[in-house]
Symmetry: C2
Subunit: 325 residues, 2 copies
């Protein structure tokens, strides 16, 4: 990671660590501290500060909204983990499994409120547009999660539908982070919109990468159960594309393993992965990621800001494509 | 209900009915429409408009934030019903029981976001203070719900702790509604604060009334299961005060019925109600409500606004004390 991004991430890490929450009620605020201390890449606030840095040297103008996006993101993970029955997140028990569902619902609600509070610390002259960008994305993230859940019980999910779902569930918040940061830094609406487009395209690529890592990731680095999506029959880009490309024998096997019957998890993951290998969907996914990356860089190129600052965003996007966790 | 309040409530009813949400994803937005169509007293938006009307003829300045508070309130009910395992609300199935828990979590989250979107339509010159008032109350409402749940497993809850809990869970949002409305109408900070104090005191009285109605309400009018708090062993003002006032025999009976063992619900409700009657806690609760009402009216009196407008708020508060549902 280049020096500038490292510095932004350190700035964010110390700002997240400095966030203060009341001690009581403990079951409301302990889960929030626990969640925020689990770490994570802090990608969204980094993007917000990068968005700001293209137009202003005063990164503090975007710091609180950047933190707001990070708190919001962690809130969505907290509620998603309930809905997805996910026992682990970043190798640690999720809030609902460590405490209980009610605690996870309510501490999530407070995190959502705290994220609004942080976002509403945006500079007065851009407060309304920053809130508008944030809330549009927040609502779309919820819509994406709903589509994701709806897909579980559907057998006719198309790849365009899937890409639209991950755009809402993951990508728009990356775009919104950049857009909010840019607005805080005094950008024009046009440049903020171009950065939103850049972030969305990077975000879709990021999520496809996530699907790939779930199957092909290094268990020590990934932080989640490798093959978890296969075990839970989750519709991912790899699965949907493999179903399209499979020959009769492969299709029979996929149908067998995704039937909902109980299987030995290791056998299931290995068998499905073998079909993914044979159909070449991993390589196709990587090609698709590159297409999104190019789309992103096209938008970035049009932003009216210094090339050296834009280069940092380009490096950030390229490194995301090569991440292993 | 006097004419002015009726008109405000009609204005709100049609504004709530005019709120538009997307059709898809259906499991996200149908529960929101369902919840908002269930009705309710629309007390909070009415208070917001009344707060505004003390200082301005332009009630539209407060309309969107007023709706935001109503949507927020309905969001909290939606999530509380999951946590409280409540099958009915306003005589209709609750969202989590009609759909499922995941639907209730996520459509609640979107309602919260929508409430913030409406609040952020406050006039630009008071946007930040209105948001601050809203979020402070929103967070306190969550804290109140957490205290309420914490109390379930505690046997040493004091009456002051209980009153503080209902202040957070119920009262602060009534106060905040008035304060937000006043600010939208151009009030001074001092007057907005006095109206907050008025609303909080009315809100505590309102919740004590709710505890009384749960036991003594008319089943046809109340809209919830009468005696529900007794059946679920809920700590209410009546229960806590009865435990303080009970003689040895009554205490034995209360301990018996609140032991957590299974009882015939009708027998349990009738037996506990008989002890409430014998210890006179209903009358004490009504005296306490009057004290809060006087406290509220003291604050109202200090507000620098026309007596005729303030009289409407006084009537509203007095009628709340006499409500039967």
């Amino acid at each position: 990671m280049i020096q500038e991004i490292k510095e932004l991430q350190e700035k964010i890490a110390s700002a997240v660590a400095a966030l203060e929450f009341p001690v009581q009620p403990a079951d409301l605020y302990d889960p929030i501290r626990y969640t925020l201390e689990l770490g994570g890449k802090r990608m969204r606030p980094a993007l917000a500060l990068m968005g700001c840095s293209l137009f202003s040297r005063d990164l503090d103008a975007a710091l609180k909204p950047a933190l707001g996006v990070e708190v919001f993101h962690n809130f969505t993970l907290l509620h998603d983990d309930i809905m997805d029955n996910a026992p682990l997140r970043r190798n640690k028990p999720t809030v609902y499994s460590k405490w209980n569902t009610n605690v996870a619902i309510l501490s999530g609600d407070v995190m959502f409120a705290e994220s609004f509070r942080l976002v509403s610390e945006a500079p007065a002259q851009v407060l309304k547009p920053v809130i508008d960008v944030f809330l549009k994305a927040a609502i779309e993230v919820c819509e994406g999660q709903q589509w994701d859940m709806d897909f579980e019980s559907r057998n006719d999910v198309s790849i365009p539908e899937y890409l639209n779902m991950i755009r809402f569930k993951t990508a728009v918040l990356l775009g919104a982070s950049l857009q909010m940061g840019a607005l805080c830094g005094g950008s024009s609406n046009e440049d903020a919109q171009l950065l939103y487009d850049f972030g969305c395209a990077v975000g879709v690529a990021f999520q496809i990468q996530d699907d790939v890592l779930d199957v092909y990731g290094d268990p020590d680095k990934f932080g989640k159960q490798v093959g978890g999506d296969i075990i839970s029959n989750k519709k991912t880009w790899l699965k949907l594309r493999a179903l399209e490309k499979a020959n009769d024998e492969q299709l029979g096997q996929l149908t067998h393993y995704y039937s909902g019957a109980a299987f030995d998890p290791v056998e299931k993951v290995n068998s499905v992965r073998a079909i993914f290998d044979a159909t070449g969907v991993k390589e196709e996914a990587e090609t698709l990621m590159q297409q999104y990356l190019h789309e992103a860089l096209d938008s970035l190129q049009q932003v009216n800001a210094s090339a050296s600052h834009k280069a940092i965003l380009e490096v950030f996007a390229r490194e995301l494509m090569q991440r292993q966790f």
